[in-house]
Subunit: 327 residues, 4 copies
């Protein structure tokens, strides 16, 4: 059930308290109240006077829905604002490779306009014998590099036991596509207040993605944004995945969470990243996350999709041109 | 086999003549010669002197490949140029509904910058009991409307016996997604010189699409362009298909044929057409084909995806802004 | 609208005649009447007395539905009965390669229990430069071979202008997967009384397949059967397509048309054909269509999926064992 | 690198010891040695004399491959043998609902021939507000029920912190489809010796599945079996997923792990479970895992796909008939 009130009033909290006596989770944002699982409610006359509408026909991802929270979620990091009218650039290497290398990449990322530094210290690799990341050392190098260039950090957390440790180093937990329905992990990051960037699973529907985000939000963490990174379809000869750009405007209608585009993983091929980054900006994304590398041929992972320094700067320039044209 | 010559020389034609004595189809464009199926060739010393390279490692769609024809295909219609540096807008109703209505739609299309009028007179409908089109009357109305507003016509041809008749009315044959591998039809339009807009099938790979185009080109018709209109994937709750925008830059690398985006069929939902049209332009499309209707609720077909007049004009405005920004 | 009558009665024909005065197509099978597009009907008291039920909630494929025709469609060919309690084996080479070869293949097919000889004379090839078939010569060779061994013929018809000619040679028109929504072709074979084997398109839903069959049935030809031959999904490294065996029991519930399994195209790999043929029989298929070849390495097309003579005989043996066990 | 020895010899262990001085993981099964990542090896003359072959062209899932271990993996539980010539039936409710109910379901499962009792105590639910399982109480009830009827237990473990606790109650860890690439969890169960049933992810390729299994095997646990439970495709109107039955014979060729079919989740519809269970047996599965319920309308989860007692018994009967026919 979602109740929309006509105005802010102490009755919101009293109705909330009343509903919480039922076995129901109740949440309030501004003039909207959601009572999950509640299917009947008869307001008193006094209550009815301040209620604009009551709806029992909620989506399963009620807390993530625009019906419950019409205003955009805006996430404030030390150096970055995600959501609302802001456009954010996140960039960095696929893997943290060394202290010196990630510092170099941070400098490059910042020079191209990024305010969030990405880099993997724990890597979810399809094959167990591939490079699995520098682990806590990688996190430390990433944090140092970001701090030196006044950037925020996004990095992947892969399991529940790592949440506390990774949380000491990062501003944003990235949940990878393969873990999008690792519900234990979603609950664990949902119990923190650290921002979470949730990647769409490779066969996740839009509803699946929003239900996964709901696990985070329902556990108390409202600092959620979504990442479209391509889905798996029948055609993967020329691209790694199929970039579902229409998901961006679809999600903007359904949810208040910011939507970030990840063209690097979506296409997996360097030459295609820029046109797709530009297209994502044109489609209304709230930002981009891209992989960069100064020497892709020797990258520890995902070299073929990393933008070289020149391509990265050209990409940000073109994205900004499109953003300005459509402003 | 593809032979690239260093320059234009009479030897190209003499080599062509020599190769045609084998059971091989030989085609020449500029300084490139393709001999299909030829796997060995030893030039004379005189010939070798003018040859830059010989390759036996051709794609199956050799005539459509950039290796054979590096320059963009440019198709010239009376009022429109497709390909090269040109950007084309094609618009019109899904179905031709009446003489008066298609005239009204032509006026609207033109006002928004379209130079090609679309409209179906023969409709490939999933269910046999749905409206199947006005047939030849529809073609006549479409032609009249286009002529009045100095526009070119694109309309679907559905089978071999109709090629001649439809060809009397149209400037461009549209081959629908469901007929992309109707090889008899591809051969038939390939034997004309009328331009062909070939829509990607809903489960066609990039290679499938290029091989289908090859049927047209190999039968003698070089006036081919491709239309990306979305593919079928696991998620179709909020969109009709999944718009594979990365196919645009992929195809631009592989082939010289122009690539037109069809956001209307790709998403199937009016509100999403504009962001996707803008994204397609940003991704490098050579033009757009969209459905418009002044009264979508009463459209004979595909009303939910038709742009209203206001939305259509806003879409063309935004597409032009992005095009200008990236020029 | 579907009317189910309590018994056979002259009132069925009189109601049919009455409904045909509306703009409606009306069909009767036994005690069931379907009036397509009719959304209201008030029987007289006399009529009401013989009516068991009236339903306005019909599937789009009304004539193909079990609601309209509860009894299995049974198709009678000179040497074969398809549907009902019969199980049919269809076998032969992918392409008709020569008069002698198809004769040899017919003998082999018959020895393994097949009563229908398959073989392509017109081949829908993805690439235009691949072998396209022996055309009318191929049809003649195929017919002769079948006649010699008292078999029926199934062969593909690819376009409208060929329907008449192919019809002179074949007992069953095969409509290929790529032509499943070639509606002109469906209408054309629907206007004959020759049996039609309709292959599921590679991205066709169950409903798409039944709507395509409806094009044939609504044009007057009730002799339709369906062929499941695999769909296109994200995984095609070890199999050509994904064999959707659950479609067999799903279709058996929805429609009265017989369902034939095509394991050869579904998997595309010789070693997998037998287990999948056996699985299809276990799942309730009404028969199988398989490709066989005595020298697959030199087959004109689809060699890798052709069963050798020994494998073919083992396959039919195992299919029969499973059929007997479940009888 | 895989070395196949001509016979058992002490040289196998000495070569293993020598290779382990490199940074390489080395495993031996019988007369086969795999040295992961090793790309060069020159045997001494003495060593060469006992070596049948050396291959450097290994699949990424080397320990799971038939090249490394030609013999079937056979897993021995107290009451059940999985793999080899055995066929195993696993059955039980989707969720453990109560002590009394799971006992009743165990009795039913056993009566139909099952020797492994399934039941979820921790449930991975798409929506956070759905029933999440009885947790440790559920495990206790499940264990008691299995013990009473001399059965083994399979139950899902959802995250690393639960591995130890769930391991106290179960004979088999089930890894769910959504966790197939939860690599931390795979490593954690790989460090135990408890059997693991790994479900194929809904968009996992065959290679993805085998690479995921490799995470378990490479961490020291050889007791792995695979579960095919359907993949996500474009058609889900009549079935929950698409049951990829061809994966069974494909996997039997590639790997020595047993393959169990899960028709319940594959189709999601009660009436289709039996034909698909029978088809899976015909396709060569090493067993089945199915959901049963005495009152599906009131099941806590997945009621629509649960077999009723009568349907369950009929299913096992038919599966056994097919198994016997093909023996």
């Amino acid at each position: 059930m979602i109740i929309q009130f006509k105005q802010t009033t102490p009755l919101i909290q009293s109705i909330k308290a009343k509903l919480e006596q039922r076995p129901a989770q109740v949440e309030v944002v501004g003039t909207h109240l959601a009572a999950i699982g509640v299917k009947d409610f008869t307001p008193t006359a006094e209550e009815a006077a301040v209620i604009a509408s009551i709806s029992f026909d909620d989506p399963s991802f009620v807390l993530g829905s625009r019906q419950f929270q019409p205003e955009d979620t805006v996430i404030t990091l030390p150096h970055t604002t995600i959501g609302g009218d802001n456009f954010v650039m996140m960039a960095g290497p696929c893997s943290v490779e060394s202290q010196a290398h990630v510092r170099k990449m941070a400098k490059l990322a910042k020079a191209g306009g990024a305010t969030v530094l990405r880099g993997g210290a724990f890597k979810p690799r399809t094959v167990p014998y591939s490079f699995q990341g520098l682990e806590e050392d990688g996190l430390r190098f990433l944090r140092q590099a970001a701090d030196e260039f006044d950037m925020d950090v996004i990095t992947e957390v892969m399991d529940v036991p790592h949440v506390e440790m990774v949380g000491k180093y990062t501003d944003v937990f990235q949940i990878g596509a393969r873990n999008m329905q690792n519900f234990s992990l979603l609950k664990a990051v949902g119990k923190t207040q650290i921002a979470v960037g949730l990647k769409r699973g490779m066969s996740a529907t839009i509803d699946d993605l929003l239900n996964a985000a709901e696990y985070i939000r329902a556990n108390g963490n409202p600092n959620v944004f979504l990442i479209e990174r391509g889905i798996r379809t029948f055609d993967n000869k020329y691209t790694r995945n199929t970039f579902d750009l229409a998901a961006i405007p679809v999600l903007k209608k359904l949810t208040h969470y910011p939507i970030i585009a990840d063209p690097s993983h979506a296409v997996g091929v360097r030459d295609l990243v820029t046109p797709m980054a530009v297209a994502a900006a044109a489609a209304g994304a709230d930002g981009e996350i891209v992989e960069i590398h100064d020497d892709p041929a020797h990258a520890f992972s995902d070299g073929p999709q990393a933008l070289t320094p020149d391509l990265y700067k050209d990409m940000t320039r073109r994205v900004n041109l499109v953003r300005a044209a459509l402003a």
